[in-house]
Symmetry: D2
Subunit: 256 residues, 4 copies
């Protein structure tokens, strides 16, 4: 059974900062946000966690394996590198949806995201041990041939976005899963234990609703990084075998 640990990373009182003393140049804000996200990817990734850029001022991370002391170190690193600080709420749940619900509630209980006094909160209950994550790495079939090389770049983006939004809603409503666009034609879903038919239905749903053909590699592991790497290798097996869903480390397939 999965037990996903999720961390909500929230920039403290960011809205006011962006406009004080006067509105900051958007290029500068984009730079700050993407550098901060890059650093968080590295800091969390070092412990084999995943961070998703989400809204940039609120980022969602899968942090199985990181205790509170490691969260504190990440919080310190941000303060020592940036002109802004972050608050962190940590929680676990059988489903990722439960986990982010509790992680958010934990932070909200400490005050408003735009309360200048509420800074550098660190709250929550990391897993004492164990836990397991399931990661599904979805990818559009032949995105280059069908879209990138054929349609205009915004039209392609719009289709990918439509497919993403359809998948996000479906995985959330049907499976309490959290899905994130990670660039290119790729979406990662953080899921509870789901089996092959669930993924086949998800792919069917996106094909019917948004007209986008997906394949998916699925992995499980003690950390997001482990699960995600298994998922990527499974996705490569989809490419090799022309399959739509590949799950797990694939010994059977290789053994065949």
């Amino acid at each position: 059974m999965t037990e996903t640990q999720v961390t909500l990373i929230q920039i403290d009182n960011y809205g006011p900062w962006t406009v004080a003393p006067e509105p900051k140049r958007e290029a500068d804000l984009q730079m700050l946000q993407s550098r901060l996200y890059a650093d968080l990817s590295q800091l969390v990734g070092h412990h084999d966690g995943y961070v998703f850029s989400t809204r940039y001022d609120n980022m969602i991370a899968v942090t199985n394996g990181l205790d509170l002391a490691e969260h504190r170190r990440i919080q310190d690193a941000v303060r020592n590198r940036y002109p802004v600080t972050v608050s962190l709420g940590v929680a676990t749940g059988a489903s990722p949806r439960d986990a982010i619900g509790e992680a958010t509630a934990t932070l909200q209980a400490a005050g408003s995201a735009q309360d200048g006094e509420r800074t550098e909160i660190l709250r929550g209950d990391p897993l004492r041990e164990g836990g397991a994550v399931q990661i599904a790495h979805f990818d559009v079939n032949d995105a280059t041939g069908r879209y990138t090389d054929e349609l205009d770049a915004f039209e392609v983006f719009r289709r990918i976005d439509r497919g993403y939004t359809t998948l996000l809603e479906y995985m959330y409503d049907s499976h309490d899963s959290l899905s994130f666009f990670i660039g290119g034609d790729n979406v990662i879903s953080v899921t509870a234990d789901l089996d092959r038919p669930a993924f086949e239905e998800a792919i069917d749903h996106v094909a019917e609703t948004a007209g986008i053909d997906l394949k998916v590699g699925v992995g499980r592991g003690r950390t997001a990084g482990d699960a995600g790497m298994v998922a990527k290798e499974a996705l490569e097996r989809c490419r090799e075998h022309g399959t739509r869903v590949e799950i797990g480390a694939g010994e059977r397939t290789e053994g065949t």
Copy 2:
């Protein structure tokens, strides 16, 4: 009249790179993508252009004011800093939609995005002079009080995403405009000349369809940076006056 210059920035042959010799750790790819985007924001921003992260492997920039030599310098900078290279297609149009269409066609004519031989293309016709950009900076009303402090972080993200997707489709279909989520509760639309009623209808449409209340500041300028800063100041006037749409440098409002 607007004459928008758009640049399509495409990472060369990126898909194969992400999986060779074996799939790269996702945290490393996220870091690469967001650092590259941060650098492009700075490089293009230095000439008062805007870059949008879009799909990360394909980014769309508004580049009024940058000639081919400056594009070449940006391309060189990427090669000298990163393990990947980029191709650039530049075009102009009365509508942003026309411009990205032509910018894409220009690159596609040089070969496939995943052709290992097609690297560091630089093609297109920058504006010889003049041109004008209109930028609309949309923002959700009281996102902190209604969403961030109330709902769980993924639910908030989902609503913001829904509002964004609704706005994107509407502005594209009705007004040939390109819209990008830039973090938080903010969306930037690059538009042709649009007037107040057009923005009021867009806001009505998003409220009815997605249940999200927006305000918008609109600016025009010779560069995206100039237009965007006017738009941000207009947005601040929405906050001060409780209005939904503010356009232009606002002398009249201040003079009142």
Copy 3:
């Protein structure tokens, strides 16, 4: 005649920051310092200036071509990206030594570098127009064959450092020039107008005193970047022709 514009970049009240509330991890400080330097190189470099890392908390830049508004923009960029701020003192002089003297005095007059109230000073008189910079790019002959591939890495470093220190002292005492180690086996001297014999004597002096054989390419230009690029091309001519000193754009050589 040269008229060098120099900017002293000083991190405000940095010493106390490094130890409050308790000593910061050295790896984090090194990261902050080198990222800040990298950004300053890019920001100043965008206007064809050069920045030298110097002491890291005090950096010296050659800024011919940058006015006060551009300095202010660099100062703003630092505040918007980092947890520290910088003060800037700008001055010009017939010799670089005069210029840095006045740039420093300008900042010192505003208060102590470790006065928590003295932050984000920007003072000085940029050149209204014109000015010219001379850059000498020194390089060790066959550093790879004689040192890097032969001696242990610290011993090599020690010899390079010895050569650098010898050159620094000589150029300062004899020619009011400022010399900076820029990595590898390279030293850049920012000089007043010096002619070929002056460079030949400098090279002789370092050979005799420190036992290190140098060559040098020298360039002049309206900005450090222009002068430095001419110097680099001259240095390449040293490599081609086996000469010790090459000055200027080298048309004659090529014309021969």
Copy 4:
């Protein structure tokens, strides 16, 4: 007894890269070098190692606690982020001087630093377990009051550099120690087991030879990070007590 593990980090075939196809802008090289150093500081620092920028193309790291797999991961990270690659030589020794000697020899045996075929070497014998590092953190007394606020910035740099060079030579010749300038008025020496009189003599030597007054905090630990933090805390005790040399965790002092 100390058993220091040292890693030589060498950019592969860097000289030719800096001038091909034509000399690269110096500001771009400075940016590359300092970003690479910042990343290495973070990557090695994550395992509580220290990296010193040294010559930038050849960096020296203290890596007690990092095995070959972790070195490989750092090497991979560089390849996945930069347009250059690095080779790594690892060795241990009772003195840091022995260790760097062997680490260098290990790399040299694999070919020249400027052999285009010799890339991404990883060789050496990390400590199987244990090992201990001694770090001495030297700092100039009242550098702000005596130098920074009084003399011109280059003159200050020159004095600090002179003090550093004097200390470097002394610690190397007398104690087989490796010393690195780390910014501001700070030098770190990586030493074998040295006791209080050794540090007092070093300080006397620098005062007599270069006229610079130093204090030093000394720490020992299983990693450079641990030893360095003890050293920094000891240095703070020098400040509190007005002493010149403080060694170790200082319980006795506090217990008094």
